[in-house]
Amino acid sequence: MVLEGRITAHTAAPVWQSALDTLARYPDRPVVVDASRVEYVDNAGLALLFDLTRRERAPGAAVELRALAPNLAALVRRYDPRDFAALGTRRHVGTLEHLGRATLHQLAYLKELSAFLGACGRALIHAHRRGVWKWGDVLDVATEAGANAVPIVLLMGFLMGVIIAFEVGLVARQFGAVIFVVNGVGVAMLRELGALMTAIVLAGRTGAAFAARIGTQKVNEELNAISTFGLDPIEFLVVPRLLALTLVVPLLTVLADVIGLAGGALVMTTFDVSFLQFHARLLDAVTAADVILGIVKAAVFGLTIGAVGCHQGLRTGAGAASVGLSATSAVVRSIVLIVVIDGLFAVVTS
């Protein structure tokens, strides 16, 4: 067998294959590889030369590299075939085991999140007792998370009211029950959708931002710097955010409720229900309890978004990629928790 010319990563494939074919054709005979005409080899060429000599062959059927440049021969000899045994692979995990592990993982997460909320509560009480509390920090976060989110919350709330009124109105008209659409819009917006949609918008907008911000601070070791100054990162970074969101989400929900109802009322005029009729029917259909339930839910959603966002931020690992993962996890986990909590409220208050 003769090897010649330049053997590089780009040219090695056919040469390598034909060399292996030759070895396979003569399994019981010694093979001499004439390398005297090899001009240059790179890593791939070196791997080819090594591969030819490392293979287990029948006794007396060794592969000999002849006339290989001494420096290349020395390089080939530096590698030990025993170092290149098959690499171990990661153990295959079955579906059932995967499901079990995922469940345990989620339960452990909920336990961790509860402990985190406990730590936040203790930090709040501690800060309050020492009188070092800064409402300015809360206001800053509330402005960013709340005031700046007003336009998007108004738009979403308005569209929700319009869509529900329109879809339900079309069906109700077939039964001559258009006026009852007001009940549907009122209850849906005030008890459910106002709080739910606001929370989902804020989970995407603010929860992710909290996770990314705190995660970046962790990656940059700012959290270590805060701890070294004797400050508690939870008291310093997390509690203001939790308080701000717990206050701001109910306020935004009230706005979403009002604009949603306005959207619904606007659509109802096309079904010959005037604003006055809408108003009168709405007062009959909903109670103060519906409004309060929506607002209480919104406060719990706000606390959840803040807690999950900050917690994910603090759990961030090393490197920029883990900041992205934290932000994504914060959004997904917040939304799942919000829907689960909404379900629990529905069961408890039914």
Partner: protein, 262 residues
Amino acid sequence: MDSVASPPVISVRNLRIGYGARVLLDDASFDVHRGEIVVILGGSGSGKSSLMKNIIGLQEPLAGDILIDGKNLVTAGPDEKAQLQRKLGVMYQSGALFGSLNVLENVRFPLDRFTDLALEQKDLIARMLLKTLEMAQAALLMPGELSGGMLKRAAIARAMALGCDILLLDEPSAGLDPITAANLDRTILSLRRNLGCTFLVVTHELQSIFAIADRAIMLDPHSRSIIADDAPASLRDHSNDARVHQFFNRQADAEPLNMEQR
């Protein structure tokens, strides 16, 4: 060194680089020959990283030419440019390994994309490279699980996967302890000796420069030019330029007035 007689693998001709009206480096010319280890150094803002990006083809120069193996990268069309870029193995300062692939898959990545080799053969090439760089035990680890020194060695292995005609290393010793940095220097010298690799290295580490460099090219942010291009020992002992002398002898600037008064 006989390699100097051969045609240069990188030839920078009258290069002007910068951003719009802000020129970082003007009329820069130098050659890098096969098998040479050339270090680029200079103070902050002198354009070291920008020069590197221009040579890699990630930035367009304002004027001048960059020849890789005699072909002009600046005037090349997209296909030819991609072909020239494939000749350059680059180690970025942060390693820039793909976070979703393990070390072996990272090193195999260029082979997967640009060669017709069988998987077993690509694996062998990648594992031999990792062995050469003393990273064999880390083949199945993810980049997030590596220390700084391991990350850089894995990045060099990936840069070498398609051959090591020209390797560009951006601050290989930055953030490494002296022993790891010295090991990396030894690896660079051994790659040059055994495989004839050519290196263009951006670094500030004086010990590293004296250990590995055949030539040091010094950029100056004030004159926006190359102010030195010679062997490091010669620059240290014989340079008449105050800035070069100051750098190679690791001397501080003159003390500010208020410090002297204390």
